[in-house]
């Protein structure tokens, strides 16, 4: 099939909320999430997959959203940094980043936290080395990484036995809520 239409309709869940969007199929998911869905937590950094600032989870898998065209996110479930806190209650990872001074300018933080979340879902008790490997796709130019690793270790300890609260499980938004953008 060939598609010459400049925009097409796509629908997906973002943080448990249903979105319908009209967008060119080859527009990057990061662009769509920021500019059409208004979710500006993820950042446009290098836009080449090198910095990790735009990291999100698509069907549970960590991806740099700048490298995924929106057409490939159709009918999928996406988690962004906005889905982590419940009202004023921060996610353990967010809390640990604050407590451990794991950010300065904060530009890399949403991507770092999403990468850390994906890491802890696969490995709930990582070593320092495993954290460095797990976050190796995310670049921070301020902190020198030491405090970020501390934060992930702290969050891992807090979350032990509690598990990671998933967006779906928390049901922040009623299932029938829909947004058209």
């Amino acid at each position: 099939m060939a598609s010459k239409e400049s925009v097409q309709h796509f629908s997906f869940l973002v943080n448990g909320e249903h979105y319908d969007v009209l967008a060119p199929p080859l527009m990057s998911l990061s662009e769509v999430l920021r500019e059409k869905c208004g979710l500006r937590g993820l950042k446009h950094g290098c836009q080449q997959g090198g910095c990790g600032a735009c990291s999100v989870q698509v069907n549970g898998q960590l991806v740099p959203s700048c490298l995924m065209p929106v057409a490939r996110a159709d009918e999928k479930s996406i988690e962004t940094i906005e889905g982590l806190a419940i009202g004023n209650e921060l996610h353990p990872l967010q809390e640990a980043f604050v407590d451990c001074y794991a950010l300065q300018c904060g530009f890399c933080t949403p991507g770092m936290i999403m990468a850390a979340k994906a890491l802890l879902e696969n490995n709930p008790s990582p070593s320092r080395e495993e954290i460095l490997v797990g976050l190796s796709g995310n670049v921070c130019r301020c902190t020198g990484y030491h405090f970020i690793v501390d934060a992930v270790l702290t969050a891992a300890t807090k979350m032990k036995g509690v598990g990671i609260p998933s967006t779906e499980a928390r049901e922040r938004v009623p299932a029938d809520t829909k947004r058209a953008v």
Partner: protein, 280 residues
């Protein structure tokens, strides 16, 4: 901002047909890690993008020691399926975990140095590709595929599958020198595969990445190795012979001068590492 036309074939035949349309310049979209940035930054002049997702090429088949991977197998999927140390080393040398969830084995063959580390390993493993272009479909060695593309880079060819031997009796090593420990472009990548008959090397493949316009096999060094055992003298001769047919480039990561000095160092280290291992 304008976007190229998106083509979404459902069969290989349909994809080949799309590629053969002469009045349209078409770019193949695998995992997206190479192509999506070109689209987003608007630096690409192709009229259309051919999306391989609908071709269902994400299967890994293990049959005895033969590994056969669809071109759309993701690097993270490959690392999960194959525990071999050299596969783990090559995959983990590429980008970060998020990128590896998108990047494909087929796409890596077309990643230009200083990228394409997996392709360097696949050259050393004597990998073969199943390809399709207008009027033909068949298998070709990766080495021959690269040699042909050196003469006709614009010939549209669709890679469908990649297969290689993971025979445990081969001794294989992968080393990458970069500016950082992780998530880095290559200064020099070395992959070596040796087959021994008792203590003598009966078959040698030595591939270098990160240095030229594509990963390449270094046959002068392979000739030094075959028929010899891995003595210090042979290792030194092979390391020096590797310089005979490679012409390193300067880029933002390293100068040609530095790469030229690092090639024998990396080969020496890789061969010493193989030598230190017990025979499988």
């Amino acid at each position: 901002m304008s976007f190229p036309e998106l083509l979404t074939p459902e069969t290989v035949e349909q994809a080949v047909e799309f590629l053969a349309t002469e009045d349209r310049k078409t770019l193949i979209f695998g995992g997206g890690t190479l192509v999506q940035p070109l689209i987003t930054l608007g630096v690409d002049d192709h009229d259309a993008v051919l999306d391989l997702e609908g071709l269902r090429l994400s299967q890994i088949i293990l049959e005895n020691d033969l590994v056969s991977c669809g071109a759309m197998v993701r690097l993270s999927q490959l690392a999960q399926a194959l525990p071999q140390e050299y596969i783990q080393a090559a995959v983990s040398a590429i980008g970060g975990p998020a990128l590896r969830n998108l990047a494909t084995i087929g796409g890596n063959l077309f990643a230009k140095p200083p990228y394409g580390d997996l392709a360097t390993l696949l050259l050393a493993l004597d990998a073969e590709l199943e390809f399709a272009d207008q009027g033909s479909r068949g298998w070709i060695s990766l080495n021959e595929f690269y040699n042909q593309r050196d003469h006709d880079a614009d010939r549209p060819a669709l890679v469908i599958r990649v297969r290689f031997s993971a025979a445990p009796k081969r001794r294989v090593v992968f080393r990458k020198l970069g500016r950082k420990h992780l998530n880095t472009a290559s200064v020099v990548t070395v992959a070596i595969s040796l087959l021994f008959a008792e203590s003598m090397i009966s078959e040698a493949r030595l591939a270098l990445g990160g240095i030229g316009h594509r990963p390449l096999r270094v046959e002068p060094a392979e000739r030094v190795l075959v028929g010899s055992s891995l003595t210090a003298e042979v290792i030194e001769l092979a390391a020096q012979a590797a310089l005979q047919n490679c012409d390193p480039r300067t880029d933002v990561y390293a100068s040609a001068w530095y790469r030229k000095r690092m090639i024998p160092v990396q080969i020496r280290r890789a061969l010493n590492e193989l030598n230190a291992r017990e025979a499988p």
